[in-house]
Amino acid sequence: MSVFDPEQPYAVRDDAALLAELNDLSRRHLSGCAAYKSVWPAWQTARSLAELPFLHAGVFKYVRFRTEAPDIKHERTLKSSATTSGKSSMITLDRESSELQSASTLAILRDFVGSKQRPLLVLDSSKSLLARGEVSARVAAALSLKPLATEIHFLLDDAADADSMRWEVLEGVLKAHDDLLVYGFTWILWLAWLKAKRPESIARMLKGRRIAFVHSGGWKKLEALKVERSEFDHALLKDLDPQSRVVDYYGLVEQVGIIYPLCEAGYRHVPRWAEVIVRDPWTLKPLTGEDGQLQLLNTLARGAPYHSVLTEDVGRVVEGDCACGRKGRRFLLQGRVPKSEVRGCANV
């Protein structure tokens, strides 16, 4: 029986069952993906979660991993937004995994924003849906909220331009609904929703509305603008219904299907079908109670070996029960692995 139980994402976990499932999944990828086998040629069954094989998140920018098996039907490719390297991670999606991933994301989001369906406003352009065979991380994240939506509206005319807000669309939705779900990348939400010149009529209509803002994509760009989380949340919730809320989640395209929203107590919780391991960056030894490099695992990835990924993020596993009431493992996300200047050419 699978450890994946969308009804109870944060109930007490069966560790042995999770290990068995991840061992099976690893074996499946090793037999179906030659490139993965080349990376882990001598791997044997893991006796603990920390012994499971992993891929570094960055390697998906350079190698297209794909697991072949009779029951796998590969579909689109999930593409991350390009980083400073200018390269995007490319994740090969398959039908079965996509279904599991959608159900997983929905189960996690429900736990944070409730199950009620309402209009979903996406701070992106509908044109982003048009790329054939590929789906951007932004669009994938927005569409993961689709089961919670009665209708979907894209609010940007140009995905790259935060000034291209379609205020008339928002106005139309606000005329008909009091309760809304809004999704956007963190920095787009800041620029398009909060900083763009908002018509006075919209400002008036927003007063007292109940809105659940869901955002992801990290704080790097807002840190550069010196925007604090408290300022961001306060600005979003100003004048809204008191039950409105802001949910900031952490996720990677290399771990599609698993998201880590920030709970009311300030922690990220691991669903029962996933795991977080913190490793010493130099020895890869697992750490508890100390900062280290985050490794994320889940049981959902069938079409390519992205079930166990060493990220370039730093975090810390925190022991004990969380004040928010969720069970299982929790962690603090501390940020990206720090980078320093590379001194180069003719550097003598």
Binding site: Y36, H56, V59, V63, P281, L310, R343, C345, N347
Partner: protein
């Protein structure tokens, strides 16, 4: 203006004594530079790494600072008087130096060499990187006692940070009698296109690659430790950094054992952890390399990724990726990139005529002992650029 005449024995093939006319006595300038060494041992500005600072200290030794004069003009004449001179060298004048963003120590080192001519120096540093030249000058001026060098740096050195599009580039080019440019091909071409005085000269040091060549019979622990050091200091980021290590005379199966020896020596040869992002990148690089066919392994603390395999395999574009390969002299020289610069060698016996003949057929600019790969000097990329700061006056008898 030019008041000091310094005699040299001559080494330019003219067969006679050479006089060099300079605004400041080189002996005084060199003494001033060398006087900084003791202060530098005690204090290091935060901007510099320990290795960079150590190299700068050694660079300021009088022996090293006399080297440009000796290589260009011969031994310093003891009497200092003018007699039977057949050549007179005088500085061309103002020098413009362009440094790209990721170049660090090269700025201070070139500035030190330029200062020995006593001319005005305009230095443009990259706008997106640490400016080690200004940081070094600031340190120097805070420690130097009043004297010729302090006066020269205060009055004749102008260091500024501005982008490639800034109009000051054109002004520098228009005013400089010598242009020295370090950077990419495109940047060098852009500066070369700027109007410059007729008769002025330009030295353009563009993108280059380097390699380490080692003979299996010469692979002592000391040699392998030297390879670790020359590679680890800059990874592949320097023009002088080895982008592959070729081991001559080793069977393919023996390279794995050599890599094991390197890993065993690594903690002693480079006793510090790499930055976290470098360790992380090497974990990634090992997996990338293995996935595309390399026999890949990481050094202790994930300090580097050393790979064995055919160099036709996909290159792993990470800072600390070093392929180890075997080969024959002919095939290796044939496979060199067009922009080859330095080959650092560790040979069982000094390079013989066969080596020289092989090198002659290549574009190699420097064939130096492994430990000297990163050493900077008055001749660079095949140009005697320091001597080019002067013009020669024929003196008939």
């Amino acid at each position: 203006m030019s008041e000091h005449l310094q005699g040299f024995s001559g080494s330019d093939g003219s067969g006679g004594r050479v006089e060099v006319t300079l605004p400041i006595s080189p002996r005084l300038l060199i003494e001033d530079w060398a006087s900084l060494q003791s202060s530098m041992v005690k204090t290091m500005p935060e901007t510099f790494t320990r290795d960079e600072w150590a190299y700068l200290i050694s660079f300021l030794s009088p022996e090293n600072l006399w080297r440009p004069f000796r290589e260009s003009f011969g031994q310093e004449a003891k009497d200092g008087a003018v007699k039977k001179a057949v050549s007179l060298y005088r500085p061309r004048g103002q020098v413009g130096l362009w440094l790209p963003n990721n170049v660090s120590l090269l700025g201070p080192l070139t500035m030190i060499l330029l200062s020995l001519t006593g001319q005005r120096m305009d230095i443009k540093v990259g706008s997106r990187s640490a400016d080690l030249t200004s940081a070094f000058v600031e340190f120097v001026l805070s420690k130097l006692k009043p004297g010729p060098l302090a006066t020269l740096l205060r009055s004749q050195l102008h260091c500024a940070t501005f982008p490639r599009t800034d109009e000051r580039n054109a002004r520098m080019a228009a005013e400089s009698k010598v242009r020295i440019v370090f950077g990419g091909d495109e940047a060098a071409e852009a500066i070369d296109r700027l109007p410059h005085p007729p008769g002025s000269v330009g030295y353009y040091f563009v993108d280059k690659r380097s390699e380490a060549w080692l003979e299996a019979a010469a692979l002592s622990d000391e040699t392998l430790s030297t390879l670790i050091k020359v590679f680890t200091i800059y990874g592949r980021a320097g023009c002088t950094s080895p982008r592959r290590a070729v081991i001559f005379g080793a069977k393919p199966g023996e390279v794995s054992a050599i890599r094991d020896r390197l890993f065993a020596l690594w903690p002693k040869a480079w006793p510090r952890k790499p930055p976290m992002h470098i360790a992380s990148e090497n974990i990634m690089a090992r997996q990338w390399a293995a996935a595309v066919g390399w026999d890949a392994a990481t050094a202790p603390n994930h300090a580097a990724t050393l790979c064995i395999g055919d160099t036709e395999l996909q290159e792993i574009d990470t800072l600390m990726f070093l392929p180890l390969t075997t080969g024959e002299r002919e095939s290796v020289t044939r496979s060199l990139p067009a922009n080859i610069q330095t080959v650092g060698h560790a040979l069982a016996t000094p390079p013989d005529a066969a080596w020289l003949a092989a090198i002659a057929r290549t574009g190699i600019k420097r064939f130096v002992p492994l430990g000297q790969m990163h050493h900077f000097g008055p001749t660079w990329d095949g140009y005697e650029f320091w001597k080019g700061l002067f013009e020669r006056v024929e003196v008939g008898g």
